[in-house]
Symmetry: C2
Subunit: 274 residues, 2 copies
């Protein structure tokens, strides 16, 4: 019952596609309804109230599409809104920060963890709170990297400017002996190789990069199993992509990120879901 | 009649403060009501429909505050929305692109003009259309510089990364013999000195930088004179600043840009002005 319903995934824009990509790869029978809030992107610099209200509207939209579970594929919304919206809706809501924190706590050997993310995510202190909750002896250091998202959106993925920006941001962790770095924004896995190189150069060998999308997908798998919600559908279902602005531009970006062909992207007037 | 009413100025965020600054300096008796749409910034990557709808809501809000004239202090909104909204409202609406184009047409000696701006402004081709309208023999070259706004917002104003980004963007004009460069985004005057240096290095001496804010303020002065709307108020009126999100953060940025002290910034739920 409900097994054949789709999984709702949302983000402020294209970043959440790195989460959708993991779900498509690891749970190939599941159908996804993705929403990217491209009319109001980015969330990273916005307040808790605003991000919560935007998340609420999107959740209402996804529920109207009949989803069986919602994945908040945006660290900022996970950090600022999930606690509140989870109490307001009946549909199960997964986020990316809790699985990300758990993986980091598992991965660190020396207890010193770095977190990079948007201004909103870092300022919220969500990763520190969760990590200290798991183990109060950990040391957690956060650094906001507001230029990474526009650099990704400019397409400067392997680029000397992006490398210099990364160097400047990651140097903040020097002397803190971090052995684990959480990519606390869904855009950042798109810069994974560059970040790995710069981390080696600036912080030395032996730092594990944590991509919360991978662990979130494991949680999703567990939740679907537990509630008997695995799809019985065909193996390569058709996913649907909605945005609040610029469907065409989104489609070409989506096609460069996802392992499947995005044929069509639809526009939604999201503010009507108040 | 109406002279003592304030002037409404709006932008997607802080950029329009460079226009407010010119108005405050050149028309010191005028009171400003500023609105920065910080909940939905940036406009530069959004569609014409979305930017028009957002502009409409803000104009309704400013009219509710009793303004005598509105200055659209955002190149993207000027490019994408002004033609439509000007027909919908009775209040006079000034924009920044028309005065900017006029100044550039006056400033060029050899007829070759470069324009830098957001994706939305450049894609709209508004400066080319206006400039060709003034003189069909001009050559106009546009280049979108999407990283400049986030670099300004990161505070990297005099910075080697920003310099390298500027170099890469401005090299696009090499071989085109431009002798005039329009700063077609209200954030860019904050990078004026750096842009001037890089222009010298990359394009040589003798390139005039055009800041549309200056010319817009002259137009505003002319309009107020023509309609008998000059303020008869005191010399140093109190300006009011509204934002759709993050009032506190906006206030500290505003204080670094404006020649007056911004004591308070107020939050507005702008979407209720539909």
């Amino acid at each position: 019952m409900g097994c054949d319903l789709p999984i709702g995934v949302f983000d402020s824009g294209v970043g959440g596609l790195t989460v959708a990509k993991e779900i498509i790869s690891r749970l190939p029978g599941e159908r996804i309804i993705y929403f990217g809030d491209t009319a109001r992107v980015p969330y990273g610099s916005k307040s808790r109230e605003t991000v919560t209200e935007y998340s609420r509207q999107i959740i209402r939209f996804l529920i109207s599409q009949g989803v069986k579970v919602i994945v908040v594929a945006c660290n900022t919304a996970s950090a600022l809104a999930v606690d509140v919206v989870r109490r307001e809706f009946d549909v199960p809501i997964l986020d990316v920060v809790r699985p990300g924190a758990r993986t980091a706590a598992d991965a660190t050997q020396n207890g010193s963890i770095g977190v990079i993310g948007t201004e909103g995510t870092i300022r919220s202190g969500i990763y520190s709170k969760l990590l200290y909750g798991i183990n109060p002896d950990l040391n957690v250091y956060g650094k906001a990297c507001p230029l990474f998202v526009p650099l990704v959106e400019e397409g400067w993925i392997y680029d000397s400017v992006t490398r210099e920006v990364a160097r400047r941001y990651l140097e903040e962790f020097q002397g803190k002996d971090v052995d684990c770095l959480v990519l606390g924004c869904t855009h950042y896995p798109l810069l994974r190789n560059l970040i790995r190189d710069v981390v080696r150069e600036v912080l030395g060998e032996g730092v594990t990069l944590v991509n919360p999308a991978v662990e979130t997908t494991k949680d999703l798998k567990f939740l679907l199993a537990e509630r008997g919600l695995f799809s019985g559908g065909e193996d390569l279902p058709e996913h649907t992509f909605y945005v609040s602005d610029g469907a065409e531009k989104f489609r070409s970006l989506a096609n460069s990120i996802l392992p499947c062909n995005v044929i069509e992207t639809k526009d939604v007037t999201i503010k009507t879901f108040e």
